[in-house]
Symmetry: C2
Subunit: 330 residues, 2 copies
C-alpha cells in the first residue's frame, strides 16, 4: 500500500514537472507582442518534423551581430575603449606619442580629435595596440582588460552589459538545435576570449574582422605573431563574405541592429525556404540609448527601410524588453 | 511459460549484442601495431575523466590534411584534374586558349608543359576555372564533375578513393567527442560540396585555400561572386594561420602526410597537455603509391625527420593498413 502511494506521488510530481516545463516561457524578458510571436512562430515552423518549413538540425545556422545586438555599443564601441586604454598603458614605451596624433588625442581623452582623424586615425590606434604580440599574449591582454575595465555610465564590467532578452534568445535557439555564430565588425580575437563564457558561443563560432598573423618559431617554440596589416573587414558587404568563408552555408536566421548588418540580413533572407531576419531598434533612452538614422555608432537607416519593406522583425527595445541587462532582473 | 522463454532469449540476445559492441574493434582496417596502439592510447587518455590527460569535449579538436591523408593525391592532386577538365569544358568559349600557354598544354594533356610553367601557370589555370561565377554555381560545378570524373588508375569516382582506415579513424574520434576539421592546401570551396557526405565533416569544419569573393545584388538577388584573386593559401606556415583564423583554439591532434603539414603538426604538438601528431607515410607501391622525400606531389622530407626526432606516430601504409580503399574490403 505504501509503495503504491509512493508511486502515485512520484507520478503526480513528474506530471507536474512536465507541465511546468511545457508552460515555462523560454523568453521571460520579452513582453508579449509581435516580435516575440514572430520568433516563436519561426522556431516552431522550422523544428516541426514533417512540416512544410522543417529544417534539419545541421542546417539550423543563426548569425548574430555583436555590438548593439548582443551587448552595448554606446557611448563608443567597447573595442575602441579597449584601444584607448591600451594606448595609455603602452604610452611609457612610446614617449613620442605625447606629441603625435592620433595618440596625443587618445592620451588626452580627446575623442573629438580622435574622430577628426577619421578611419586612418582609428586604424593607427588599432594597429599600435592590437599587433606586435603573439595571439596567446593578445588573448591574455583582452582577458585582463575585461576583468578590470568599467563602462563609464553603468560602472560595471562591459561583459555585464549584454542584453538579457538576447541571452534568452540564444538559449532558446540552442535548445531548438540551432548552431549560433557571432558575425561582427569587431575584432575576431577581441571577442573569442570571452564569448563562450558570456554567450555560450565557442571560439570556432565567432566571425569578425582580423589582422594578419604569421607563423614563427620563437626559440624553437611555434607562435603566431599578430601583424599590423588588415586581413579582413567583417562589416557591411563583408559580412556575407565572412559567413561564407567561415561557415560555408547560408544561415536561416540573422539578427542585427544597424546598417552594418544589412547585407548579412539580405543574404540570409534570400535563401530558399523559411528565413528569419530581425533588427534590434534602440528606442530606450532611459534604460539604454535611443538612436537610429542619425547615429554615428550603430547607424540604422537603410536597414531600417529594408526591414519595413521586407517585413523583417523589428524589436522595439523600450516596448519589447522587460529588462535590458541581466543585473536589472528582479 | 512461453512468454518467459521469450524474455530470456531477448535478454541473452541483448547481452550478446552489448558484449559484441564492447569488444568490436573501432579500427578494423588497421593491423595491430605501434600506430594503432598509439591512437587508442591517446584517445583513452584524453577521454578518461579524472585522468591526468583528460581533455573536455569542447577542446577535443582534431585537424586532418586532405590530399594524401584522407584521399588519393596521385598521379596528381584531384583538384588539378578538375582544373584540367574544366579548361577542356570551357575551351569552346575561349578559342584563344588553343595557342596560349598554359591552356594549350592543358588542352593537349601535356602535363610536363603545364608543370614547366611553374606556380604561375597553375595559378592561371585555377583562376580561369575557379573564378567568375557565383559560389552557388561553383559548388554545383564541383558536384557535377565529381559525379562523372574517374580516377585514371582505378577507373572509379575520386570520392571512392578515400582511405578506409582513415574513415574508421574519423568515426572513432567522433565517437569519442572530437570535433574534426579538414585543414587542406586544397580549395575550401572545392571540398565543401562533398566532405559531409564522404567524411561526415560539415562545411563549417573545412579550412582550405581560397580566392576572394564579392557580395553583389544581381537583379535584386544577393550573390557572392568568385574573383580571380588569391585570398589565402592554406599550406605549410599558412596552416596554423588558417587553423587559428577558423577555429580559434589549438587542436590536440593533427594528421598529415607531407611537408605541407609540418607547421600544422608543430603548432598542434606544441600545445599544453597531451597532444597527438601522426603522419601517413605512403609506402605501398602495389595497392596505392610509395613516395616521400623525392616526390613533387606530397613530398615528405622535413616532416619525416621531425616525426622521427619528436616521436610523432608514423603510419606505414603497407604494413599498418589491411585495406586502402573502401571498395577493397571483403
Amino acid at each position: 500500500m505504501r509503495r503504491h502511494l509512493l508511486m502515485v506521488i512520484t507520478l503526480v510530481a513528474l506530471l507536474a514537472l512536465a507541465s511546468f516545463a511545457a508552460a515555462a516561457d523560454p523568453l521571460p524578458s520579452w513582453n508579449e507582442g509581435q516580435a516575440k510571436r514572430a520568433i516563436a512562430d519561426f522556431v516552431k515552423r522550422v523544428t516541426t518534423a514533417g512540416g512544410a518549413d522543417f529544417v534539419p538540425v545541421a542546417e539550423r545556422i543563426a548569425v548574430f551581430d555583436n555590438d548593439g545586438t548582443l551587448w552595448v555599443e554606446k557611448p563608443m564601441y567597447v573595442q575602441l575603449a579597449f584601444a584607448l586604454d591600451r594606448v595609455k598603458a603602452l604610452a611609457p614605451q612610446h614617449p613620442e606619442w605625447k606629441d603625435k596624433q592620433p595618440f596625443k588625442a587618445a592620451l588626452e581623452d580627446d575623442l573629438k580629435a580622435v574622430a577628426a582623424g577619421g578611419e586612418h586615425a582609428l586604424l593607427e590606434l588599432v594597429m599600435a595596440t592590437h599587433a606586435g604580440m603573439t595571439t596567446d599574449a593578445f588573448a591574455q591582454i583582452v582577458t585582463n582588460w575585461l576583468a578590470t575595465a568599467e563602462h563609464p555610465r553603468f560602472n560595471r564590467p562591459y561583459t555585464d552589459l549584454v542584453y538579457q532578452p538576447m541571452l534568452e534568445l540564444l538559449a532558446y535557439l540552442r535548445a531548438n538545435g540551432f548552431k549560433i555564430y557571432i558575425v561582427s565588425g569587431g575584432g575576431i580575437e577581441f571577442m573569442r576570449p570571452w564569448t563562450e563564457r558570456i554567450y555560450g558561443i565557442p571560439p570556432e563560432q565567432v566571425v569578425g574582422s582580423s589582422i594578419k598573423t604569421r607563423f614563427e618559431l620563437s626559440e624553437g617554440k611555434p607562435v603566431l605573431v599578430r601583424l599590423p596589416e588588415i586581413n579582413f573587414i567583417d562589416d557591411k558587404a563583408g559580412k556575407p563574405v565572412g559567413i561564407h568563408q567561415h561557415i560555408g552555408r547560408r544561415p536561416i536566421a540573422a539578427f542585427g541592429n544597424s546598417d552594418g548588418d544589412l547585407q548579412m540580413l539580405q543574404w540570409t533572407a534570400a535563401g530558399n525556404g523559411l528565413r528569419f531576419a530581425l533588427i534590434v531598434h534602440h528606442t530606450d533612452s532611459e534604460r539604454e540609448w535611443a538612436y537610429d538614422r542619425q547615429s554615428h555608432v550603430g547607424r540604422l537607416d537603410k536597414a531600417f527601410d529594408e526591414a519595413k519593406a521586407n517585413g523583417w522583425t523589428l524589436v522595439d527595445m523600450m516596448k519589447d524588453w522587460k529588462v535590458i541587462y541581466p543585473f536589472q532582473q528582479e
